[in-house]
Symmetry: C2
Subunit: 225 residues, 2 copies
DNA sequence: CCCCTCCTGTACCCACGGTACAGTTTTCAG
DNA sequence: CTGAAAACTGTACCGTGGGTACAGGAGGGG
């Protein structure tokens, strides 16, 4: 029971790294069993086929992803009371986290599945879709909280704004991987942060606007983190 | 000569659609020759192996991509003299273009290659890298032109700002494909447009800032396109 | 007329996904 | 300690797909 779980996780670890580098089609079961140190029969004991492996891989990835976001943004929430400042801090922490990855971000399995979809069953595609929808809900919730305190400088749809976070992350990963520039992703997260700050905060170098903002919402910290 | 070129292009058409849906590893040469209506020998007459196919596919895709950007932004440049207004119009045109795609955006080959890299030779990876660098130069050039006339509300790095365009496009495609919501990509492009406008233009609902801006740069159209 | 481009046909090899199933070791609960 | 379930190993086999190797044929231009 315990042992089986451990082997299964080892297979998933090896598979995840391989899939993110070569895609599902480019990853052979053969190489997975060699690197994991088990036999083919052993592999098929844990996963009845490649589709099952993909399913487990994707679910594990999404769970882990959610956990990371939970940690970062709840940490930011503990440090900052204001929803906007807390979100901006969260993005800062996120950018630091991806900047500290030794070989750059390995890639996002959601994107991998997205570019491989037709070969998987509907269940996997639904899982993937729900993962993106969960991001939308998560960031949407945070933006709604922010909008209870701040009003955006320009009219924006909350869901689209929430999707912007996912877009920049997914796009940033693609750029970072393609350019082989690990810090590009972190920079993009900070650009997104600039966008969000600009959308909700008065310009830092314009006292004129700051005053106007204060008149409406009261004094808020205008400095960045 | 003429005939061969045509067959070659037909293979590339079929291959492009298949690869964007299933990835390179998930696309078999078998299915390509069936759909193209040629034999296996015929296929290998045109491409000595799958890597060669990928190379041709990627080069053609990038060329076409560049052509589309050239058209859109030169068209926008013809209609608007101001570099910022012209860029904003370009993004609007781009969002309309992707919104009009019947089945949504089919996917970006650059991203597909990015998530398959290790199985291709260095040449393809370099081609891919150069494509992203070309985007950076293209949009960077446009932002530099804008910055000769407007100064950004917040300090930003031009290259990072240029990369933001690529990020949002790549990320928007992933979201759109995964959610099976074709308009998500168009919405993300418009969100990016909001970002750029907000970065360089005074808030539309704030006459105070508009006045301040006018004092510096003279009267500009403040309404959006 | 011949040569070159653009294919078709056939035959074959190996890697990989997957199945089947018999047997063996490990683990852990009673 | 024991026995049954869990966690494997080993072997053999099949179909598909990537790729090679040629031999040969249609069709058009000089």
């Amino acid at each position: 029971m315990r042992k089986g779980e451990e082997t299964r996780n080892r297979i998933l670890d090896v598979a995840e790294a391989a899939v993110l580098q070569k895609g599902f089609g480019g990853t052979s079961i053969e190489e997975l069993i060699v690197e994991t140190g088990i036999t083919k029969s052993g592999f098929f004991y844990h996963f009845k086929d490649k589709n099952e492996l993909a399913k487990a891989l994707l679910n594990r990835y999404i769970e882990n992803d959610e956990r990371i976001y939970d940690e970062i943004f709840s940490r930011a929430r503990d440090l900052m009371d204001d929803p906007l400042q807390s979100f901006l801090l969260g993005l800062k922490l996120l950018s630091e986290l991806v900047a500290d990855l030794p070989n750059g971000h390995p890639g996002c399995l959601v994107a991998t599945v997205c570019y491989y979809e037709r070969l998987f069953d509907r269940e996997i595609q639904e899982t993937n879709r729900n993962a993106v929808l969960a991001w939308r809900r998560r960031f949407g919730r945070m933006f709604r909280e922010i909008m209870e305190v701040y009003s955006p400088r320009e009219p924006v749809d909350v869901d689209q704004l929430a999707d912007m976070v996912s877009s920049v992350l997914e796009g940033g990963i693609v750029l970072s991987k393609t350019l082989k520039e690990p810090n590009t992703l972190a920079e993009q997260v900070l650009m997104l942060r600039t966008f969000v700050r600009m959308l909700f905060l008065p310009a830092i170098e314009s006292p004129l606007v700051a005053v106007r903002h204060d008149q409406i919402y009261g004094t808020v910290r205008s400095g960045g983190l």
